[in-house]
């Protein structure tokens, strides 16, 4: 994996990266290995779904903020309408984000979803509806995070463009003004 464009710096937030990967890995590992050791479906279900829920929470609340500076959430406003909010840091901070961190963040996010998708296909092929339930829940959580953060990132890019055009426009007008004042 390191041959794929290794970023130069080190991880800026190693503990956050660890937690980001920890619960995902634990959920996947437990689910896969449990078939070998544990008979009770209930335990597999509860532990896997609990780990997946913890992972969702960690990614959404902690590693999203720290590793890539993005956040999304849902609010209910005064009129009782539900609004989804997508948020990113301002441009300077975004530019200063550690590349390795964000590389890890996005790759593990996508890879986990792909892994759960494969497991879903396996359990579908084996006609195991109850295991499909577990995998379905975990897949839903992963996809929710992916969708939320991707929307954040798109909005962040849009803001960068807006900001850039704004800056160019303001610089242009100010240089025009100085030109005219000189004249």
């Amino acid at each position: 994996m390191d041959s794929i464009q290794p970023p130069v710096e080190n991880y800026a937030n190693p503990r956050t990266c660890l937690f980001h990967v920890l619960f995902k890995g634990a959920a996947l590992a437990f689910y896969i290995l449990s078939a070998l050791f544990i008979d009770s479906f209930v335990i597999i279900f509860v532990v896997t779904v609990f780990l997946a829920a913890l992972d969702f929470w960690v990614v959404k609340n902690v590693s999203g903020r720290i590793l890539v500076g993005l956040r999304w959430w849902n609010e209910i406003n005064e009129d009782g309408e539900s609004i989804w909010k997508f948020e990113c840091l301002d441009q300077e901070s975004l530019a200063r984000m550690n590349k390795k961190d964000s590389w890890l963040f996005w790759w593990t996010l996508y890879l986990t979803a792909v892994a759960w998708l494969f497991l879903a296909i396996f359990s579908l092929l084996r006609f195991q509806a109850d295991y499909l339930l577990v995998v379905g829940v975990c897949l839903t959580l992963s996809i929710a995070n992916i969708v939320g953060f991707t929307k954040c990132r798109k909005d962040a890019k849009k803001q960068i463009q807006q900001f850039a055009t704004q800056t160019i426009a303001s610089r242009f007008t100010s240089s025009l003004q100085t030109a005219f004042s000189v004249v």
């Binding site: 849902n74 209910i76 840091l89 109850d130």
Partner: protein, 274 residues
């Protein structure tokens, strides 16, 4: 209106300054800085809260810069306000650094507090309860998740055979039931948010959890019947105001009947399991 959104720095620097002032004036404990305030804290399907220090900026920015009517789809709250704790190292963000280094514990505490408060709002008799339609504003799904899993586990323990199937069926029925009931309300033209309603139906399972626990511990059938009936009535009583407030009065029964049906069938399940 969107002009203000593209000049983020002024807003954010002003709100940064305010934030720093708040931090210096307030005690160090982040938990106390988080006031009991109207829902600006972010939430999501699994509850989320970010550190409290970013709340003040959100409080200030939305009223001034966001357009008043309901913005559908994706309104970018384009105030990248003073959340830049990770990038801006120069500023004296004392408390945010604390919430970063121990984000888990504080946020966990806050989420637990929210679960407890939601529970009190929904389930327990509360004379100071505000208008039910607005009550579960900061919905979260952790509470419902725990309650459904707990109910499934209790039923599974009570069952002498086919434990796995019992659990899976209980979980699937409750989850699917909550989703279907919410869709029912929405299709009847009711005004309720999807996740808010899911959250509500999940919290109303709490009395049935208690009933199932008692049912598991007690072997006398009559006592079990009585206890489960009482908790069942309690669940229905808890769900009633929210559901009826959400729909047109003429359609109240149409919205409520499936809810009661779900709870009654869960109640029968609890009584009948052995």
């Amino acid at each position: 209106m969107s002009h203000e959104d593209t000049i983020p720095l002024h807003h954010s620097s002003q709100s940064d300054i305010d934030e720093i002032e708040n931090l210096f004036n307030a005690p160090v404990h982040v938990a106390t800085v988080l006031p009991a305030q109207p829902p600006s804290p972010p939430r999501a399907s699994i509850p989320v809260s970010h550190s409290s220090t970013s709340l003040p900026p959100y409080q200030k920015v939305p009223p001034s810069s966001s357009p008043p009517p309901v913005v559908p789809a994706v309104p970018v709250d384009a105030a990248p306000a003073g959340r830049s704790r990770t990038g801006v190292s120069a500023d004296a963000f004392g408390s945010p650094a604390n919430t970063l280094t121990e984000p888990v514990w504080d946020t966990v505490k806050r989420d637990l507090a929210r679960i407890v408060s939601n529970l009190q709002l929904v389930v327990f008799p509360n004379p100071f309860r505000e208008d039910p339609g607005r009550a579960l504003r900061d919905w979260d799904l952790w509470g419902p998740f725990f309650f459904i899993v707990f109910l499934g586990l209790t039923l599974s323990w009570s069952a002498s055979v086919k434990k796995s199937e019992v659990f899976a069926v209980a979980f699937a029925i409750l989850a699917a039931g909550a989703i279907i009931l919410t869709t029912n309300v929405l299709l009847l033209g009711g005004h309720i948010i999807f996740f808010q309603s899911l959250s509500l139906l999940g919290y109303c399972l709490f009395p049935l959890d208690v009933g199932a626990l008692v049912g598991m511990l007690v072997s006398n059938a009559i006592l079990k019947l009585v206890v489960v009936s009482i908790t069942l009535a309690w669940s229905c009583w808890a769900a009633y105001p929210f559901m009826s407030a959400a729909v047109n009065p003429r359609r109240k029964a149409l919205a409520l009947y499936p809810v009661f049906l779900l709870y009654i069938s869960v109640g029968f399940f609890i009584i009948a399991i052995d």
